[in-house]
Symmetry: C2
Amino acid sequence: MRRMLVTRTEIKERTTRLQARLAAGGMQAALLLMPSDIYYFTGTRQNSALWVPVEGEPVLLVRKSLERARAEGLIDDIRPFPKSKELSALLGGEGDTVGMTFDAVPVQQHGWYSKVLPGRRFVDCSMIVRDQRSVKSPAEIELIRRSADKLISVFREVPSFLKAGMRELDLAAEMEYRLRRLGHEGFVRMRAFNQELFGGMAVSGGAASYGFFDGAVTGKGLSSAAPQGASFEVIRENIPVLLDFVGLFDGYLVDMTRMFVIGKLDAELRRAFEVSLQIQEAVRNAMVPGAICEEVYQQAAAMAEDTGLGGNFMGMPGEQSRFVGHGVGLELDELPVLAQGFAFPLQKGQVVAVEPKFVFPGKGAIGIENTFAVTETGGERLTELADDLVQL
Amino acid sequence: MRRMLVTRTEIKERTTRLQARLAAGGMQAALLLMPSDIYYFTGTRQNSALWVPVEGEPVLLVRKSLERARAEGLIDDIRPFPKSKELSALLGGEGDTVGMTFDAVPVQQHGWYSKVLPGRRFVDCSMIVRDQRSVKSPAEIELIRRSADKLISVFREVPSFLKAGMRELDLAAEMEYRLRRLGHEGFVRMRAFNQELFGGMAVSGGAASYGFFDGAVTGKGLSSAAPQGASFEVIRENIPVLLDFVGLFDGYLVDMTRMFVIGKLDAELRRAFEVSLQIQEAVRNAMVPGAICEEVYQQAAAMAEDTGLGGNFMGMPGEQSRFVGHGVGLELDELPVLAQGFAFPLQKGQVVAVEPKFVFPGKGAIGIENTFAVTETGGERLTELADDLVQL
């Protein structure tokens, strides 16, 4: 009845790797509270907290639903969340150094656990967890491929419903409706504080060149309260229509962008599109284990500069983002980031959405996005759909 | 061109009220980082931090987009986010006690600001901000009414698309598609750590009686990775179909549940539905300023008990939630909560989604939900649609 999305063996391997990293970091345990982390290490995402000691078995403490956590969870020790007085006897001892993901856990949670677990020193294990999760197993890559195939099937249908005169919002609704019926989860997990995103963006022409968040293209959105994604603007002929959508099925997401136009784009935009394909190919070639993330970005930025498009690369002039790709998996903003300041080497099995884009104020946004896995021979494309600008 | 969703005068009044509360709490300022709080006090939700001193003018420091924050923002001092070295000179002085919303701000953010603002003592101002935001102005209530009218228009269409043989997921997609085209923002803001929700739930029969989150009805969801809301289960005849959806337009949301059945419900379910209406009416009558939230819940729970349905009230037997209503506004989980342990008095202008529901394992969930404003004469209904079970 229930579809198995991960095996008990893989969960065990993940736990063992985490334990080794925690030990190397001088910790006696980690207390994981983020849903995505708990799901990764247990196979269930109920309301719960996961204790992972460096020696011994992890314990999942479940607030709700215990029954469901036990039915889904792939670790042995799953029990009700105890009274706060009983927690201290259960989770390590005084003097322990305990990892917690400070990137996402609120101050109140940290304060509460500090009180009920006296004598523990909590330290930040965000990078340990995020780095481990960034490297995908073959089974995870297969799940991402399956998400890609569903997203691609919807991209293929776009010519049947994209019409001049419809609003960006209508186009977004058509995409979302089809994705949803295929099993899209509807809620895209983002980890970074303050990030908010739904399933994607349908933006066109000048309305594409607005922004708040740390991406290249944000969209105008519906109001000052929801200032991203599709707007009420009408899609016209001969302007770029950018569809940047997330396929999210069975927990794993994939990220793609394709360009459409009803009619024809002008020479400047067509040229920028060609440059984005060239940059994508250069980045793909560079995606081998050991390549330094920020150097991959710098190479991309230099290509944009060399073609005279440096001022339009990855955002509005003056508000450009200094990245060209981001990790994807359970969350849309996983490691690694192909970004300035991110001086870490790529690792085999990391999965990265590469999205070279250009923004022309008043005219619109143009570019490409595909999701690749890092391999010894460069990025392996997981999103098998032609990159071509689709002219209707 | 831009729709004004709040006036400069109202933003000014909100700031003045917050300043008085911060001063009464012994603070010299608050540093607000949550998007919903920043939007409430400025009218813009760009990537930014808001400094509100108890004396003088607030300052919005914008990472991105400064241009858009200036176009939308309704406070005077909006400037680029400075270099970290310059922050300390700008934001108060050593010895200041500074409020921060510890309920939502991650440990890393708190740590970073503690470092760049040395000598400040950060304290939790979550309850001050949340309590203030819980009391809606007439203009906010009007926005919630407008959201309600759009949501209601979609509920009215349900008989045209609800069919036996469709999956819960298909029904959810039909709801979401129509809401989206009306301008639903797609992303429902929740404040509590670990909460995740998309636009609503379409659940039926036994698949309705699963749960993880702190609501009465959760739904089975699509997988262990997304364990809430609509599932792949097929909707059959003579089982309860529960539609619990959020209308979210222009920043403000409203929450409603209606029941449908293709065919007929059995006597036990029909009776439970009648009891949910009686409880709703009792709660509505009790929603006057000064009423104690947990007493309103206790009255509702006692009514469920008196009718012999206490074991099914607000959740699966053994996993019941001890609440009957929650505040709504910019977020789905605002104050007040009509819940055990919440011993605060209701205030005029608070807006609460009241949702008495019953869960029968294997048979399904049934109940009602409407959104009411607290007034001197009891709850004023903002969701003007008949409560009747719709039989198709």
